[in-house]
């Protein structure tokens, strides 16, 4: 809605009556309004564009990457593109005083210690990070929402029981458990006999490219917060009039929960989840860094940084480029998350 007031300012002339032009905008729904607010936020749109670009990299990795991610050309190891010494003055090419770096322009970002192309590995690495970014919130939402909504809706002893369990899990150092469990999954399921549960899970894991256990680990560490949030939301939504009306018409509990309460509380839940996506990405990178992430040779930015850290002083490009890629992805999701929060909950706008 905008108003324009026009007055003529010629002295002595008859003052024209101010002309008010009203631009009436159609009242739109909650989601349309939120979408409009989101698209007006420049940082959020930038984040969306970056995420879109990353998604394209992940889907079209086979076409975009110049080489396969696991092709090792050992004679080409640690090669460095010619523009690198300009950016990293400490990397001295062969031929200069104290030089050691072999130059090669066939590798756009250089090669790692096993002769694999870094750019290709970066592109394939988007697959891992993005799958984690999208599936992580889903698992956490699934478990957390179920627990929280059951606890909040039914109340009483069920609520008590579930919340005690959530408190227990909250106090438990789940990070440690995840690390131990990843070590457990990684080793035991490699040597399991066909027909057992272990073998079946191993097959699922292999079909996911080694990511299944990471998803499980993510779900385990993050559902408690979602459960608490959902419970709070459900508790307040339960007392609303529309729930009373639905009961009066004879709707059952499950119907009320999924058709009335869920659509109304999903806003804050989405916001909370999107804001935690960067932590999922960072957690996966951390697991890969310590060697408990995806199995090599599947590239993950975390494992690339871990490998590159060995050669940080002589070939910094091997660690810096994956680090920048990771930072880029986290930026994008942070901006998007902030934009979503401002769009879906305008009261909080400006309160960062």
């Amino acid at each position: 809605m905008s108003t324009e007031v026009q007055t003529s300012v010629r002295p002595g002339a008859q003052a024209a009556a101010p002309v008010l032009k009203l631009e009436q905008s159609k009242p739109q729904g909650y989601w349309a309004d939120a979408f409009r607010r989101l698209t007006r936020n420049r940082m959020a749109v930038l984040g969306l564009i970056i995420i879109f670009f990353l998604i394209l990299c992940a889907i079209f990795a086979n076409q975009l990457a110049p080489r396969s991610y696991d092709k090792q050309v050992l004679t080409d190891n640690n090669k460095v593109p010619s523009w690198l010494p300009a950016l990293f003055p400490s990397v001295k090419p062969v031929g200069t005083e104290g030089g050691y770096a072999k130059l090669s322009d066939t590798y756009p970002f250089g090669a790692d210690s096993l002769g694999r192309d870094i750019l290709s590995r970066l592109i394939y690495g988007t697959r891992v990070s993005l799958s984690v970014a999208f599936v992580g919130p889903l698992t956490s939402l699934l478990i957390g929402f179920l627990m929280g909504s059951i606890a909040g809706f039914y109340g009483g002893r069920v609520d008590n029981l579930i919340m005690r369990f959530v408190d227990l899990m909250y106090a438990f150092p789940s990070i440690l458990l995840v690390i131990l469990m990843m070590a457990y999954f990684r080793s035991s399921f490699n040597q399991s006999a066909p027909g057992t549960l272990a073998f079946a899970l191993n097959q699922i894991d292999a079909s996911f490219g080694g990511l299944f256990f990471i998803f499980v680990a993510l779900g385990i560490t993050s559902w408690e917060q979602m459960a608490r949030l959902t419970r709070g939301q459900v508790l307040s939504a339960r007392e609303r009039e529309y729930v009373l009306a639905a009961r009066a018409v004879g709707m059952g509990n499950r119907g009320i929960l999924f058709r009335h309460i869920l659509p109304n509380i999903i806003g804050p839940l989405i916001v909370a989840e999107t804001l935690t996506i960067p932590t999922y990405i960072s957690f996966e990178a951390f697991l890969s860094f310590i060697g408990l992430g995806v199995n090599p040779p599947t590239p993950s930015w975390g494992s690339m940084i871990s490998d590159g850290a060995q050669a940080l002083r002589s070939y910094p490009n091997q660690a810096i480029f994956p680090a920048l890629a990771l930072a880029l992805a986290m930026f994008a999701f942070n901006f998007l998350g902030d934009g979503l929060r401002d769009a879906l909950d305008p009261r909080m706008r400006g309160v960062s």
Binding site: I175, L177, F286, S306, P316, A327, V351, S352
Partner: protein
């Protein structure tokens, strides 16, 4: 309040007990033992090793022996050899021939010369120093920054600091570590040369602590700003101002404590993040801390080291949570634990 602390303490012990049991079971559930190397050991040597470390006993006995060594103190009469003095973590000589000993975390299967107690004695102070400095850095940078940004809302300082904060939240220690090493260790930007690896001088602290604490300080800044802005809109602040109190008094006496509650909530999980962050930072900066031992021991199936480090980290986490809850009660008098 005293009853609350006692109850929480018992709850902590319960959690630690649960952690120890689950870790123990998981450890022994993983196929592959500590002595399955590339070379298969001859069976007599294997039998000897199993006897020495009691690996043939039923699991329950092994668990109880292990926990007994840690939990139950003992008084030792007689002379102690040099190697025996390091067997227990806490060794207090009462007089010439008696020692009060407590907490023996056992030997390390991988390292013949060092026991877990030695590892704790040498590496734990390093990791602890790093973690504490990083946390202090995060608190001392983040909270004041957030406060000033809230007080000067929508100013240039506000936008600048919040942009830096978003940057910080998006850059975990995995990312920041290599970048810092590249800039200040190798490239010598701005003429600053900081030591890249090793430990010892205060200069060695700077980059690792910054890499570890920067993300946390950004989080604190954003959180403090948001929370202070919300508190300043409350009615009781308006009342305080209407009473004629100076802005400083309003801030210090009324606003600050309430604004810090969400910040304190975050410190608990943040402690966990710092603790795990040290794994990364120690590897990147070559710091002789405990992270390497924890990760390596899992791969090596070094049972006592795994149990020891897991228990250590778990205790730190629960103690941090306890302090967070106590801080709640101090910050907000309405929160009273009956």
């Amino acid at each position: 309040m005293g009853a609350f602390i006692i109850r929480r303490f018992l709850w902590m012990l319960l959690v630690l007990f649960g952690v120890s049991v689950v870790t123990f079971v998981l450890m022994h559930g993983v196929p592959g033992g500590p002595f399955d190397g590339e070379k298969k050991l001859p069976p007599e040597i294997l039998a000897n090793i199993n006897k020495k470390y009691n690996l043939n006993d039923p699991l329950v006995i092994q668990y109880l022996t292990y926990m007994g060594n840690i939990v139950v103190p003992r008084i030792y009469q007689g002379e102690l050899t040099a190697s025996q003095t390091s067997d227990y973590l806490i060794d207090i000589p009462l007089n010439e021939n008696t020692h009060f000993q407590w907490m023996n975390f056992g030997p390390s299967y991988k390292s013949k010369s060092r026991s877990v107690n030695d590892i704790f004695r040498d590496q734990l102070p390093v990791s602890a120093q790093l973690g504490i400095v990083a946390l202090l850095l995060a608190l001392c940078i983040g909270i004041p920054l957030g406060m000033v940004a809230a007080l000067r809302r929508n100013s240039r300082f506000d936008y600048l600091s919040m942009s830096v904060a978003i940057l910080g939240v998006s850059v975990p220690s995995i990312v920041l570590g290599p970048i810092l090493v590249w800039q200040f260790g190798v490239n010598k930007s701005f003429g600053i040369q900081l030591p890249v690896t090793g430990w010892g001088t205060p200069a060695h602290f700077i980059m690792p602590a910054f890499a570890l604490g920067f993300a946390s300080s950004a989080l604190f800044a954003r959180l403090t700003r948001a929370s202070l802005l919300e508190v300043l809109n409350e009615d009781y602040i308006r009342t305080a101002r209407a009473k004629g109190l100076s802005e400083r008094t309003v801030l210090n006496v009324h606003a600050l404590k309430n604004a810090l509650i969400p910040v304190v909530t975050v410190i608990g999980p943040l402690f966990a993040a710092l603790v795990t962050g040290t794994f990364v930072v120690e590897k990147i900066f070559g710091i002789p801390g405990m992270g390497k031992y924890f990760i390596d021991s899992i791969g090596n199936r070094d049972y006592p080291v795994i149990m020891g480090t897991t228990l250590l980290y778990a205790s730190l986490l629960v103690i941090a949570n306890l302090f967070v809850d106590l801080a709640y009660a101090w910050l907000d008098p309405r929160i009273r634990y009956s």
